[in-house]
Each structure stands twice: as C-alpha cells, then as structure tokens.
Amino acid sequence: MTVAVNPKKLIKGGLHDWEVVIGMEIHAQVTSRSKLFSGASTEFGGEPNDHVSLVDAAMPGMLPVINEECVAQAVRTGLGLKARINHRSVFDRKNYFYPDLPQGYQISQFKDPIVGEGEVLVDLPEGETITVGIERLHLEQDAGKSLHDQNPTQSFVDLNRSGVALMEIVSRPDLRSSEEARAYVTKLRTILRYLGTCDGDMEKGSLRADVNVSVRKPGEPLGTRCEIKNVNSIRFIGQAIEVEARRQIAIIEDGGTISQETRLFDPGKGETRSMRSKEEAHDYRYFPDPDLLPLEFDQAYVDSLAEGLPELPDAKKARFIESYGLSPYDAGVLIAERSSADYFEAVAKGRDGKAAANWVINELFGRLNKEGKDIETSPVSATQLGAIVDLIGEGVISGKIAKDLFEIVWSEGGDPRALVESRGMKQVTDTGAIEAAVDEIIAKNPDKVQQAKEKPTLLGWFVGQTMKATGGKANPAAVNALLKAKLGIE
C-alpha cells in the first residue's frame, strides 16, 4: 500500500520539509489464565517466582505444551484485524542468552505466523480516517524480569512473567506522524479490549511498542530506520517519534547518515539513546522448535471463534451514527471503550439517542474525568441516567433542574423519579401558577416593561426573574410564551 504525502504532516527541517515514516511492533499480552506453554498462572504481581512451573524455569527434560486458549485469542485478534488466519503455523526458537530467559531461547513464530495480513482503520481528530496495514501477528513467550536493585553485587531474576503469552502485532510502515502513531495504538488497544484478548493495561506492561522511525524527503525511497524499543505509554510513543525524527533530520541536514540501530527512549531527558548497532545485533539462529508440532486447525474452528466475536468498534460506530443519529465525533467518543458504548446504549434504549449521548458525554464523562473515575465505577447507573433523560423528555423537569438532579444522584444515589417527587423539583407547567408569578413581576417593574417593548432582548431578564420566583421549576417554554403575550413582544 502506498500512502499519499500529506503536506500538513511534514516536519519542517532547517533546509527542507521531511516526511516521517513509522511502523510499529506492538507486544500485547494475551488475556489467558495460564502461560503460553505451561500451566502456571499469568496473574500480575505476586511474590517473585510465585508463578513459575518447571517448564518456565527450563528444568532439564521439560517440554512446552501449547495453551489452546492463547491460540483462540490470537485467532480472535486476527479476525478483529480483518486479517488472514493461517491454518498452519510453526513455532520457532529464537536463541539468545539472558538470565531472565531460562531456556536460552524464546519460543516465537518466525516464518509461519498464526495471523497474516490485515488492516486497522484509524480515525484522526480532524475527521480524517487512515488505513494502517497489518503485516502479521504471531504468538511468543514473554521473558522474565531481571532485578538489579535488590543487591549491591548481584542481579536477581523473577520468572513470574517468563512464558506468559504475547501477541506481536506488526504494522506496515503506513504511519506518517506521531499523531497517527498514537491514534493507531489507541485504536488497536480499543480493538483488543473489545475482543477481550488483551487488557491493554500499559502501566502493567500488557501493551508495549517497538517503534520503527525513519525520515525522507517526500517522494524519495524509505530512509534508514531506527527501532525504539519497548515504549510503554501512548504519550511516550508520540514523544519518542518526535524527538527521534528530529534527531534524524538534524543528522541528515548536517550531511551525516543514519545508521540502523536499536534505541531507547528516555522520557525524563526527552531523547533517544543508542542501545546497539546493527553490527552488534544478535544472530538469533531461528529454527523450528522440535518440541512442538506445527499448529494446525481448520476453517470450522475459525468460524466458531468468529461467531463468538462481539460487535467491533468500527461496526458499532457506524451503527451509532445510523441508529441514533449521532455525529461521527460523538459516536467515536462513545465507542472508544466497550463499557462506555454499552452504558450509552443502555441509556439510549427507547429514548432520544442524541439526548442520551449528550448526557453521557458531557455530564457523565465530564464528571467521571474530574473525579478520576471510570465508567465501571460510575456512581450514576445507566438506569438512573436514563430516568433523568426521561424526566426531561416528559417535561417533568427542566434541563437546568436535571443537572441538579444528576448531582444528587451522583452524590447520594436514589431513584431520580422519586427524588423529583420528594424534593419538589417538579417543573411547574400549571399556567395559572406561572401567570401569577409573571403578573407580580410585571406589576413590580413597570419601567422594565416599558423598556422591553422597545428592546425585546429584555425578555431574558423577565424569564430569569420568573424562574427565580418559581424556584427554577417553571416550564421555560410556558414562561416564554406567557411573557411574550403579556409584554406584547413578538
């Protein structure tokens, strides 16, 4: 696939404009109870070396046995990425020495991955949508962890993560800015979370990115790339790309050349540092793992997994726009998390979709953000919010009162309809009562009445006074109509 050059995305160098080209390898921890080739738990945390089987510790004579759930999760993910599922794939050994790699090799998939080419649609804030090609997805083992801060002279090794299943998702170099890269990872994370194949928790290391960055003058062949290893937040991914692209541009504009290497991003210093050059790169000596037979399954197996897939973000977004009349932006906000989308649908069911979206996005999300809560721990349930929307729709409360009601439900809980009753929040639609209030205000302010005839905008002042007099409960439409009639404003 070729990506058209977008002048707005170019980076200004000292001499010319530069296009940055980005490809990513995302390591996503597979959601599964046990490890890829052993029965040990994948639970996060625990004392060091609590979750280690004989296989994970690579004791002599131990053999790997594939965890079927991890295979299913990889296939589900492949389906979610609209990718080709390979009915036959092969596990290979990637050989290198490191203390937290007990076998002396990582079991991975090299030549024949379980998932082939696919794509991800990525929406950008300006409304643009780009397609990012997926080259492959393969299953592999995670390594353990070396702890260098426990002892002055020795390093300790924690094998709890050793053997945990990872999906490496490799994109094509289709990304052209740090913004696109961030949006891509965000979208990929959303898809994985919808599928339930990776929790996407970057703080726990469930999602890490290796970012390949190169720069070129628009229209020229690809430049030499550097790989920034193990970036563990979406914000850092953006920062790392920016500083790395500028570093490369500065070198080239200075007459230098980029050498292919692996680099590390230091968020504290805001720079990337060389980790190892191409010459120092390991020779991993990949070869098929003789302990494992090729992984084979049929289309019926893939079909059965496809049947169980949830509605995915793109489909859900299209449906929200179509069925609820939402704007693409609002639909995009609501589908970003499956739980938000589910919440919204519970509120919107049988109600006005736009009104429901407004309340969910503006009131609820706003409040959740402010309090640092998420939708799962929202004090206001979808049923409660739905009742509030109903009360507005039925004309029982005004929008303004509804906000007060929302506050009460948020902090105290309770059935909104009952609260409206018990706290006397009902909107006054009785024209007689409103009229009395209006008459009183008109009587008390003859000068304003006079002015209003020349300056109709004063109507607002009268509305405000009336609302104040009725404790905000008067139906604003009724107030407006009455005042207009009495003041002779049209």
């Binding site: 002599p60 004579g61 302990d291």
Partner: protein
C-alpha cells in the same frame, strides 16, 4: 543354581510369582553384583536404600496378590532420565549436584508397574558419543574382552552404562535412549538386545534432551522378550509431550512368539558399505538365512539416500543440541563458575561444565543455524531427512515388512582406540543406525554371533512406524536361531 541376577527378566518375574525367591533377595543379589563390579564404572550412582525399600513394597504386593506387571524386577536407569530426589547428571559436570523434583515419564511408568531402581547408569555426556568415553565421570569398561586379551574395550555409547550393566548382570534390564544409535550400537557391542521404538512411542518428558526430534527412549535387556516386556511399561501417551503419540500400547510380549512366516524382509543394498568386513557381511547373510528358514521372504531393496544420512544427522542433531543445551547457563541449577559479569559467568560455567565433544557439537550446531549458513546446512539437512524417510516409505509401500541390516560396522573396540584425532571415525560407528532416527522408525539390535576374537556382533531390524511388534517377532527368530549369547564370566569381580 544360577545367581538370581543372572536370570532373564521374564524368568525373574516368573520366579517371584512362584515365590521361589523374594524381591528383596533379587535386589540384594544385584546390589552385591554391582558392588563387585565397580571397576566397570557402569553405575554413576547406586541407590541401594531405595532399591531395598522398593523391593520391600514389591514383596508386600506379591504377598497380597496385587503384583503389578514389573513387580520387584530390579532395573538400572540411564542417567539421562530425571529421577525424583536422585541426582541426575546426564554424564556432565554441568549438572553436578542437580536433584530433580520430578520423575521422568518413562521411569515413572516403570515404578508405577512395580519395578525396582538399582541406580543411575553411566553414559556419554548428554548422550553425545558412541563409546561412553565422553562421560565426565569416566569411561565405562565393557564386561567383554577379546579372546586371550586383557585390553579394556568400550561398551559402545551413548547408553554404555546401560549395556555394560545388562551384560554384566548388574540389572535385569535398563532404560536407555537412542538419538543416532545409542541403544542399538551398545547393545550390539555387549551381546544384549536393545530397541529404539518409533519416535513418539515413549514420552520424552523428564528425559534430558540432546536432539529433540531424534531422541527416543527404549530398553536394553538380555533377551528379546525382556525388551518387549520393558517397552510395554515404558511407552504410552503423555499429554506433557506433544510429540508423543496418542496410541494404545500393544501387547509387545505377545508379539515375540509370532514368527516371521509370510513376512517380507528387505535387504538394503546401500548398507553394503565400502570396506565392510567379510565377517559383518557373513553375519548379515546368516541373519537373512535364519529369517528365510523361519518362513520369511528375503528381498533386496534400495534406500538410495542412505549415504547422506550421517552428514545430515551431524547437522540436525548438533543444531538442536546447541539450543537444547543453552539452558545450562549457571543461573538456576547445576554448576556455576563466577565471572566478572554475566557473560563471564556464562563463559566460565560452560567452559568448565561441558566436555570436548559436547562443546564441539554446540559449536557445530551454532554454526549451522547462523545467519547465512542456515539454508545451506540446516534446511538442506532437513530436506535430506525427508528423502530418507521417503526411501523407507517406498520400501514399506512395496510390501516390505521389516528391513535387516548389520547393527554396527565392527565389534567393540578398545578404550582410546578411536576418535581421538578425527571425530568422524567415531561418528561412523552409527552409519547403520542413524537413518532410523532420521526417519523416526523403530529399530532393534539383536545379537547374532561372535567375531573371530570372540566379541559379539549384532544385527538390526528396522520396522514400519509403530510396528515394534514385527521387530520383536523377527528378532526372536534370530535370537532362537543364533542361540542366546553366552555372556562373559565375571573377571571383574
């Protein structure tokens, strides 16, 4: 009366059943024979306490009429099988002091069936060798000597301890493993019977790996029937080894008496290698005649890719070994020699922990898997492997039931005689056996006579995948016709 340790496994089983003697008597007879034979260096570790404890349990089971298939039968265990709470070294310094917290699938099956463990048997380091001279714990001396000579001979390898112990009556049978001939060649050198079953017949779980796609466990014993009995217990499906076949275990012992009437035995012309001695050729002809006399049809066949098997093996096996042995890094268990940093620790540990032959194979394996060499070596070797397998498939498709070949190019040689300069001289020991591993087929070695110096020679029968039964039937015909080998008198005691 014969000493109890000189009975065959089947005879001992019957004797225990008839209560002619107790399992404890049987264990004690073996333990004293082992003690007297320490000069052979067959056992790396004797486990007399465990043997007597297991024998006691066996006696109780026999008394209560609950005897299991191998109840009270004392066996030796090649020290490649991990044994729970009993040191397991793989013949290497790098595993010195290692005590597994688990029992290999194969030995577990034997103990499950009532067998008694006498101890752990010497072997070539990590099963890499054909003479048991690469063991970090010293050479095994064969109980056999050339007529009128006191020259110490090798028992073959890598299951040299197993073969020597069986031949010297230091156990009724022994576990062994075979990656390129490590059961069949030492069996041939010591006048014993050894079968490498089909790849996948025995679980590899808990057996220290040399070359995973070739390694297979099997028994060495003094008769064909004894091997059949042992293999029946050792084999079986195991979900922990995904390369282990999910097949029911046939009644191997019942197949022993089946005979060969109506079978067609292939004689592969490519095994008539250059420089083959007249003695070996004569033995081979004699074996064919025995099978013919018993009612088999003999037919010459062609296995055209045979000559590529040895070089291809010495790419595939070291490649896998270089990776399999990476875990011996000094970090978690076994030997650790400190270094100035982690790389230094690795280097020092592996330099001190591995012997010459192991290092050689790790280096060969690392080389053939390296970028730029992988396609030229590893990929081509795998292609050859496919061709070798196809040769056999075509032979079997043409109506061949089993194939007869010599087991080894010669009888046992003296300790230190071979391979000190050119390792290939030693590698050629496995020229007849290696194809069988490359094709994943079953192969049995059975004694068929003695050479001019009075040393045993063996014949090999190769079968269809998972058809060990035909091999037992045919091997029994040879054993009966050739007469059981008269094992050497205990000059070492």
């Amino acid at each position: 009366m014969t000493h109890l340790n000189e009975l065959t496994l089947a005879e001992a089983r019957d004797g225990l059943k008839a209560k002619d003697f107790s399992a404890t008597d049987l264990a004690k007879a073996h333990l004293s024979a082992i003690e007297a034979a320490r000069g052979l260096n067959a056992y790396l570790l004797e486990t007399p306490d465990r043997a007597l404890q297991m024998a006691g349990v066996a006696d109780a089971k026999i008394a209560s009429g609950e005897a299991r298939p191998l109840e009270g039968l004392p066996l030796g265990v090649k020290d490649l099988f991990c044994t729970h709470g009993v040191a397991t070294t793989a013949g290497s310094k790098i595993l010195e002091g290692f005590q597994p917290h688990y029992e290999s699938a194969v030995t577990h099956n034997l103990w499950r069936d009532g067998a008694v463990m006498l101890g752990k048997l010497n072997l070539d380091e990590f099963a890499m060798g054909s003479s048991n001279e690469t063991s970090a714990y010293g050479d095994v001396v064969s109980p056999w000597r050339r007529a009128g000579s006191e020259t110490k001979l090798v028992p073959g390898g890598s299951s040299g301890g197993s073969a020597a112990a069986v031949a010297a009556h230091l156990c009724l049978g022994a576990t062994a493993t075979d990656t390129g001939g490590s059961i069949r060649q030492p069996a041939a050198f010591t006048g014993t019977v050894g079968i490498k079953p089909t790849y996948g017949r025995c679980s590899r779980w808990g057996t220290v790996a040399y070359a995973s796609s070739l390694d297979q466990a099997g028994p060495i014993a003094r008769t064909v029937r004894d091997c059949a009995i042992l293999l029946g217990s050792m084999s079986g499906a195991d979900a922990r080894d995904t390369t282990c076949a999910d097949l029911a275990v046939p009644d191997f012992e019942a197949a022993v008496a089946r005979g060969v009437k109506g079978l067609t035995i292939g004689i592969p012309k490519e095994y008539r290698v250059e420089g083959m001695s007249a003695e070996i050729q004569a033995l081979w002809d004699k074996g064919a005649a025995m099978l013919k006399d018993a009612g088999a049809t003999i037919r010459e066949i062609s296995l055209p890719h045979t000559r590529y098997a040895l070089p291809a093996y010495y790419i595939v096996a070291p490649a896998e070994a270089s990776s399999n042995l990476a875990r011996y890094d000094g970090v978690r268990y076994g030997l650790r020699v400190p270094g100035k940093d982690i790389a230094g620790m690795y280097e020092n540990t592996r330099a001190a922990g591995f012997g010459r032959e192991v290092k050689r194979r790790i280096m060969i394996g690392t080389y053939v898997l390296s970028a730029g060499y992988y396609d030229a070596y590893y990929v081509r070797a795998q292609k050859i492997r496919t061709l070798i397998k196809r040769d056999f498939e075509e032979a079997y498709a043409s109506g061949i039931d089993a194939i007869l070949t010599p087991a080894t190019p010669s009888a046992a040689f003296g300790i230190g005689e071979k391979g000190s300069g050119d390792p290939v001289e030693m590698y050629l020991q496995d020229v007849f056996t290696i194809t069988v591993n490359m094709a994943g087929l079953p192969g049995i070695s059975v004694p068929a006579g003695l050479d001019a110096q009075g040393l045993p020679l063996g014949l090999q029968l190769i079968g269809r995948p998972f058809d060990e039964e035909t091999l037992f039937a045919a091997a029994q015909v040879i054993e009966t016709a050739a007469g059981r080998t008269q094992l050497p008198k205990a000059w070492w005691a």
